[in-house]
């Protein structure tokens, strides 16, 4: 049984000798909601970009379902970047058609149902929507996929509390035992109740990989408090 995600000595250095990801080795299984936590500049985003094939590794390997990032892995990964990455002059229903065209596992009815529950009209152009609504649309498109690995990069930053709740509840209701959700964020206290596992990353290396339960039982602390301890300057 191959692990869902496997990195081996994964390294990414930039020209001026900045090491963003430093011989990172990790194995991630299925059916878990995992928090990728670390301070700014710890290598979270770089690691995520390497998984998605948006960066080429300097050294080491990254395998998704046993294959290097490529067409096959992209079929199985649903990625929500931190930025607005959709064409802003496209209408919401055009975007749904687009995703449906390129992703076999995209469920259009699910997307429309979620849009309706959020009161978002499907024939509006993306650029006319507020920032929070745009992020909801991007999340809905990702969550309407039936992927093996969902990667959400800062899904709740800069979003109002009601939208935050919607996003977290959507992640939970979408859960299935064969898929894994990787949440990268620095807003730990808001999401720690929905996490199974946490990965602490610092200076491009894995500092800790454990379950949330272990932290609460062994240390009697919340993940947020434990994080502050571990990363105290």
């Amino acid at each position: 049984m191959t692990a869902l995600l496997e990195a081996n000595n994964l390294t990414k250095t930039y020209g001026n000798d900045t090491v963003a990801v430093d011989h990172l080795t990790i194995s991630i299984g299925r059916g878990r909601i995992i928090g990728l936590l670390g301070p700014n500049g710890s290598g979270k985003s770089t690691f995520i970009k390497l998984i998605n094939g948006l960066l080429t590794p300097t050294e080491g390997t990254i395998l998704i379902n046993g294959a290097a990032p490529g067409v096959e892995s992209k079929k199985r990964i649903a990625y929500l970047p931190e930025r607005t990455y959709l064409q802003s002059n496209m209408k919401v229903n055009q975007l749904i058609d687009f995703f449906g065209d390129f992703y076999e596992d995209f469920q259009k009815d699910k997307a429309y149902a979620m849009l309706q529950s959020m009161d978002i009209k499907s024939n509006t152009r993306l650029r006319t929507l507020s920032k929070g609504t745009k992020e909801k649309v991007q999340l809905i498109l990702v969550m309407s996929r039936n992927a093996d690995l969902y990667i959400l990069d800062e899904p709740i930053a800069g979003v109002d509390p009601a939208a935050r709740d919607f996003i977290l509840k959507t992640i939970i209701s979408n859960y299935n035992e064969n898929a894994t959700v990787l949440l990268s964020t620095h807003l730990i206290s808001d999401i720690e109740n929905i996490l199974d596992d946490v990965i602490f990353i610092q200076d491009g290396k894995i500092k800790t990989q454990t379950t949330v339960e272990n932290i609460r039982e062994d240390y009697g602390k919340s993940v947020d408090a434990y994080f502050r301890e571990v990363f105290a300057c």
Partner: protein, 271 residues
């Protein structure tokens, strides 16, 4: 998958290209209308001078607009493959070949169609210039008709006109593809710079363009030598020249495609 990508690229680019072509048709239409109305057939020197100036401006703007097509397609390529939108493009389950090929094909079609329209406009206008203007105006524009050269050109094409016509169309297609791929390669190479990537792309474009010009000259020189010193007629020159140019353009297309593909698949480093 290729057709799907092409469909989306077409949808996101055709409007601007259409606008450019409309400009070409409109300006030509106005020119033709004024010629047919005999506006320029006056004895007034002022108007004829004005006409000459407008004609020059027209030619400049036409050439400018057709170059704009390549620039626009290159900018669209950059936005699609290297800006924020790239986070979508490169996470789609589409191979780099398909991404590049679909952009190249659509870009080439845009460029080719615009070139055809541009040529049609120019020839159309020239035809009307010949037929509508009086001799004084023609003198002002120095339009002369050389029967000898025309006869040569005719014989050059008379034999196997169909295949030669096909070759010319093919050459034009390749020429468009060549411009597009050169621009794509320049954009991709510009991404290798860590900072000032856009300036880097422009520098690479100038560099590549210069190299191609030099290479073209090197290829053409033997032919010029032959025509001067050998017993080769203009007919054979044109025939052979066309073939050589086509092969050369084909080689360039392949090289630039491979360069861009390599950079996209092995050297992709999105911000």
């Amino acid at each position: 998958m290729l057709i799907r990508s092409m469909k989306y690229y077409w949808q996101s680019t055709y409007k601007i290209i259409l606008l450019m072509n409309l400009y070409l048709l409109l300006t030509t239409g106005i020119g033709v209308a004024t010629l047919a109305a005999g506006v320029w057939n006056t004895h007034s020197e002022g108007i004829t001078t004005l006409g000459a100036i407008l004609f020059i401006l027209y030619v400049i703007s036409i050439v400018f607009v057709s170059n704009l097509v390549v620039i626009y397609i290159a900018v669209h390529f950059y936005r699609n493959m290297y800006s924020d939108e790239a986070y979508l493009t490169h996470t789609l389950p589409v191979s780099k070949h398909h991404l590049l090929l679909s952009q190249t094909i659509i870009g080439t079609i845009h460029c080719f169609l615009t070139s055809v329209i541009m040529l049609a406009c120019i020839f159309g206008l020239i035809y009307f210039l010949f037929t509508c203007l009086n001799s004084q105006a023609k003198e002002a524009l120095q339009l002369t008709y050389d029967p000898g050269m025309a006869a040569d050109l005719y014989t050059a094409f008379a034999n196997g006109a169909f295949f030669k016509g096909l070759l010319i169309v093919f050459y034009f297609l390749l020429s468009s593809a060549h411009s597009i791929l050169l621009a794509f390669a320049a954009v991709a190479m510009g991404q290798l710079f860590t900072r000032h990537r856009i300036i880097g792309s422009i520098i690479c474009y100038i560099g590549l363009y210069t190299i191609i010009q030099i290479a073209t000259s090197l290829v053409v020189i033997p032919f010029m030598g032959l025509s001067l010193f050998g017993n080769v007629s203009m007919v054979q020159l044109i025939n052979c020249g066309l073939l050589v140019e086509t092969l050369f353009a084909l080689a360039c297309c392949v090289i630039f495609y491979l360069i861009t593909y390599y950079l996209l698949s092995r050297k992709l480093n999105l911000d």
